[in-house]
Amino acid sequence: MNISKQKWVRAVFAAVIAAMVAGGMASTLCSADPTPGGSPAPTNSVPVQTNAVAATPVAARMQVTGAELYSINCNRCHPERYPTERTGAQWKTIMLHMQVRANIPVSQARLILQYLQDNSGR
């Protein structure tokens, strides 16, 4: 690849990345709706409504809930998995795995597990 083409490719790429970052930040920071836009809807499972987080900033409230911890932690690395996908006992096994893999506090993992088990429906 010659030098001018390299520069062209780098310039185009940098412009694309900058546009994506600016667009992403603009649409999230400037959004009037405090409720997040939500993840893409799946077609093979029934989504549990997890995006209904209160508009009040988290820091202003006394204690973060299992549902909030789930929404904070459980789609950082992979697409959201819904509580109805597994039984309560399966969630127990999976949460041990995730607790180690993401190295999150045991107390927070317990709250997330309780939320998953309460909403698994089985």
Binding site: G24, S27, N44, I94, V106, Q108
Partner: protein
Amino acid sequence: MKTNRKMFGLMATLCAVGLALPPRAAAQVSEADFNALKATVQALSDQVHSLQQTNVLEQQTHEQDVEQLQQLREKLAETQQIATNTEQKIVEAAQTQPIPREPIDEATVNHNFMMMGDAEFQYDKVAGQHGTFYQADFAPIFLYRSGDNILFEAGFDTTLQNNAPNSPGYTTTFNMSFAQMDYVMNDYMTLAVGDLLLPLGTYSQRGAGWLNQVPDDPLAVDALIPGSGVGAELEGAVPVGNDGAFANYAVYGVNGPSSADGFGNVSSLDLGGNVGSRSDGVTANLHSDPSGGARLGVFLPLPFKPRYDLELGISGQSGEWDDAGTHLWSAGVLDAALHLGPDFEAKGEYIMTRFGSDDVGQVTQQGWYAQASYKLAGLNLNLPVINNLELVGRYDSVIDGLGTVTERYTAGYIYFITNTLLFEGDYESVHSVGPAALPPNQVILQLSLGF
């Protein structure tokens, strides 16, 4: 009674009639009068007989009624007894403590054992090579939970590869990518032992095939640092405040990088081959001392909006690598990940390694990647295809310290068919110079399933 009165009345009437009749006189009674009297007596006799029969029937009916009344009384008594018994049972049941029923899941080991993982299938077109379908990976992860605090987890990678030229067929490679036992000792300390996914940065631990938005790994992660090592690790996390923030740590010791041929030349460096059991059957580390490493990290929910958060980490590992123990291999990694809501993510790592060698001396390698992605669902357009699309861009580079410098620009997408079935594609523009230069570009299409 009525009948008896009737009979009595009749008899009395007859007596009265008899007394009233004058005594037989000398005078004669006519035959007509006699016959009339005879007929009257006969009729009266018939009536008496009929009244007697009616009396018998009424007596029988009365007796039946009495018997039926007795039966009803008995049934009533029985029903009252049943009601009383039921009431007593209800009272006793309310007073008895219910026995907690264990969910059936907990009663069997089957639900403590799970298989998860992912599988990837690709179409690759590398510049200068024929395009190809490629069974990229089948990577099952087996989990077994023993009680509440012990987990055994193991992951494998299964890939296909053509045999050597002139050797028909293909080879299936089944590699164990990690196998570790995790024991949660308390709320702040977990012991993990085995073939560990190393906490050098976060990509090795969280970058399974279907998890990262780009189908291939960052150059520096694959080239510069080991993804796993046999050893032991202590890790834990401490909550900070009440908003979900925490700090975490990991400290570990592993056999560490080694020499593939026992010598200390650059080409001998083997990042992942020192597993404690040599090919000649000897159980030994290939060099005298293990390597040690650690990672410190913080996770901070940001106060602006829900799901705004920042994760930062610093990690490193160091230890000798050659059999003679004369050269150290060291690595340092800075990692960061930023989320602005559920739709935008930016993350990256900077990696530097340094090691000594017999032939080249000190070698310094470095590389980094920065990746940003945005889910178009965040635009709230509510269009069917757009809502399920995520755009991703990545820049990564690696300087191998031996003359090869590679930069790569990647632009791609992920289409969420479901939350676990992803159709990904990317175009990679590569600028690579040096003895180990990579092809100039490639296109990868991937279908990946997480389970």
